[in-house]
Amino acid sequence: MSSIKLRAVVALSGLALVCAAQAAQKESAPPKKAAVHAKKAAAAKDPVAADFEKFHEIMEEDSPAELFEAKGAEMWKTKRGPKHVSLEKCNLGLGPGVVKGAYVQMPRYFADTGQMMDAERRIVYCMVKLQGFKEADLAKKPFSKGSYLPDPVALVTYVAGQSRNMKIAVPQKLPQERAAYKLGEEIFNYRAGPWDFSCATCHGEDNKRIRTQNLPNLASKVDAVRAFQGWPGYRMTGGLMHTLQWRMNDCFRQQRFPEPGYASETIADLLTYMGVNANGYLYKGPGIKR
C-alpha cells in the first residue's frame, strides 16, 4: 500500500468550526445569469470560505449519504409494517412503483388524496396506506437524532438518489399546483411570530450571511436551486441525515414560529414554491451539509 487517507473526527470538527461558511455549490446552471453570479461570488470569496469549499467538495465525492441511500433502498423493497407489504407499489406520481425521476418532479398534486404532496409526505402516505403504519406514530419522532434514524428519512434519501443528475421539473400544470405555488410564496413572505420574521427576512436578499454562513436568496431564480440541491443532506455536524421536512421545521423554529405539522400542507406548499423556482437545474442527488 502506498497511501492511506483517513478523515478523522479531529480534523473534521476543527474545520467545521473555522469554516461555517457554506460552500456555494457548483451549480450546473442552465440560466446564463447564474454563471455571472457564480463568478461574482467567487471573486468575493474569502480564503476561509474557499478552504471550506474545497473540504466540501472532497466530502461530497464520497458522501455518507450513500449509506442512507442503500438503507432506504433495502427498506423500500422489504415487506414491512402491520400489513407486511413492501413499498414497491407506492405511486410517487409517475405510476405505481416508478421511483426513477420522481423526486425532481415533486411536490405535485395527487388526485387520489386531493392534496399537494412532497416526497416525504407521499412516502408517509404510502407507509400508512400500503403498509398500515400509523401516521401519528410516524409524526411523533420524524427527525434524525443521535443514532436514531426515522424510516421516512432513509426512504426519502433513496428516492432522491434515484433522481440523481436529472433536471428539476416540479409540475405547474394543474390549477391546484399553481395555487400551491402562490400559497407557498405567501408563506415564504409572511411575517409573524415574536420576532416578526418571515422566510424572506433571511432568504429574500442577495449577499446576506449569518456569521460566516452565506444565505441563499431563495426568492431569486439564480439562488433558488440551493433550497433543492444537496437535500436530503448528510449533516457533518453530528453526522445526521436530514430531509427538507426537517429543514423547513428548523427554519420555522429559528423564526420562533409555532412548529409546522410534519408532512403538512404548509410544508408541501412551501416546497412547491421553492421547487418551482429551482426548475431547470440539474439535481445532483443527496448531498452533504456543513
Binding site: M1, S2, A8, V9, L12, D62, L67, G239
Partner: protein
C-alpha cells in the same frame, strides 16, 4: 447486523484505489446523554482489507475516527475483475465483512 459498507475499487496503472464508506456510530465514550449518563464507547477497533487472500491493509482504529468513517487507500498489484474484501471489528464484538469487484 450492522449495515453494509460501500466499497469502490478501481485499477489504474498497476495500482488499485479503494474507497470504503462504513456505517458506524463511532461513539467515543466521552459524551453524555440527556440524562447526564455517559454514552458507552462503541467504535471500530480493527480494519482489514484482503485481496487474493493477502492482507493489503490492516489498521488499528480508536475513538478519534469520525462517525460513518471513510477510508481511502491504494495498493500495488490487483487487476480488473478481482475481488477485494474489507472487514471491520468493533469493541462490542460486532463485525462486518463486505466484498467488491475491482473495476
Amino acid at each position: 447486523m450492522p449495515d453494509p459498507m460501500r466499497i469502490r475499487a478501481t485499477a489504474k496503472n498497476g495500482e488499485v484505489n479503494v474507497k470504503v464508506l462504513m456505517a458506524h456510530e463511532m461513539e467515543t465514550g466521552q459524551r453524555k446523554d440527556a440524562a447526564g449518563k455517559p454514552i458507552p464507547a462503541h467504535f471500530i477497533k480493527q480494519v482489514t482489507a484482503t485481496w487474493q487472500g493477502k492482507v493489503v491493509l490492516s489498521a488499528n482504529w480508536g475513538t478519534a475516527i469520525a462517525k460513518n468513517p471513510f477510508l481511502e487507500f491504494t495498493f500495488k498489484g490487483g487487476k480488473k475483475g478481482e475481488k477485494i474484501q474489507v472487514t471491520w471489528n468493533d469493541n462490542k464484538g460486532e463485525k462486518r465483512s463486505d466484498e467488491a469487484t475491482i473495476n
